[in-house]
């Protein structure tokens, strides 16, 4: 049994480029990575939003209606739906004057069992330290 932990860290804003979008789609690809691996091998992703990256987590994004492009909101909900651990830096959320009710915390209406977690930066730091590889988006 060999699990490699990979930290997907998003510190870029949404919608400038597709950077944060690719973080989500690549993290979700861990669901199908087994087809490339041996029995008992797997990848465990952890996804964390820090700095300006927490702006990806604002609720009620309407980019789909306006620009016809999937919102980061729906990507984050998909990540929760596929049981990916989603961490959001609470210091940065606070820095931007945001409250928990403005932030995407769950994907209940899609049937997700887990929720995202507002955690101190130190927790995200520990996740990076215990990861085998760090992918900064």
């Amino acid at each position: 049994m060999s699990i490699k932990k990979m930290a997907f860290i998003v510190d870029k804003m949404p919608y400038k480029s597709e950077t944060s979008r690719l973080a989500l789609t690549h993290a979700i690809a861990s669901q199908t990575v087994e087809i490339h691996l041996e029995d008992g091998e797997n990848v465990e992703p952890v996804l964390a939003f820090i700095g300006a990256g927490v702006l990806n987590c604002l609720k009620n994004q309407k980019a789909s209606e306006v620009y016809g492009v999937t919102t980061l909101e729906s990507h984050i909900q998909n990540a929760l739906l596929t049981d990916i651990k989603v961490l959001i830096c609470e210091e940065d959320v606070k820095k931007y004057g945001l409250t928990e009710d403005q932030i995407i915390m769950d994907a209940e209406e899609l049937g997700a069992d887990i929720t995202s977690e507002l955690v101190p930066f130190s927790t995200i730091m520990s996740e990076m330290e215990s990861s085998d590889h760090i992918l900064f988006f």
Partner: protein, 119 residues
């Protein structure tokens, strides 16, 4: 000797990020390391064949074809490429085209990963 996986997500003709990734891959191969290179997002442009060589742009097609011939794996993200209108027949010969899980699997078996994100 180890294995280095380089993920290059950044654009494109005119950006020096692909140049950096290709030079680093070359240097690693010369030292006997295995190299996987994943092109995603705007980085997939590197996989497009038929880029005309101008003095104003570093032309990487030959360098990277040599790199592939010498044993490096260079694979472009299929969805990212299609979204840009690069189809299978546009792919430089010897390059791979895979879904994103290929990159994660490559990272799985890599000793070192350099993930070049950003814009």
């Amino acid at each position: 000797m180890g294995k280095l996986t380089i993920g290059c997500f950044s654009s494109l003709v005119g950006s020096m990020t692909l140049d950096f990734a290709v030079k680093l891959a070359e240097a690693a191969r010369k030292k006997g390391h295995d190299v996987d290179m994943w092109l995603s997002g705007n980085g997939t442009m590197l996989s497009k064949k038929g880029q005309r060589s101008f003095k104003d742009y570093s032309s990487l097609e030959k360098t990277i074809t040599d790199l592939v011939a010498g044993g490096a794996n260079v694979t472009a993200c299929e969805a990212c490429a299609e979204a840009r209108g690069f189809h299978k027949e546009d792919l430089i010969s010897g390059f791979g085209r895979k879904s994103m899980d290929w990159y994660l699997a490559s990272c799985f078996s890599a000793d070192r990963v350099l993930h070049i994100g950003g814009e």
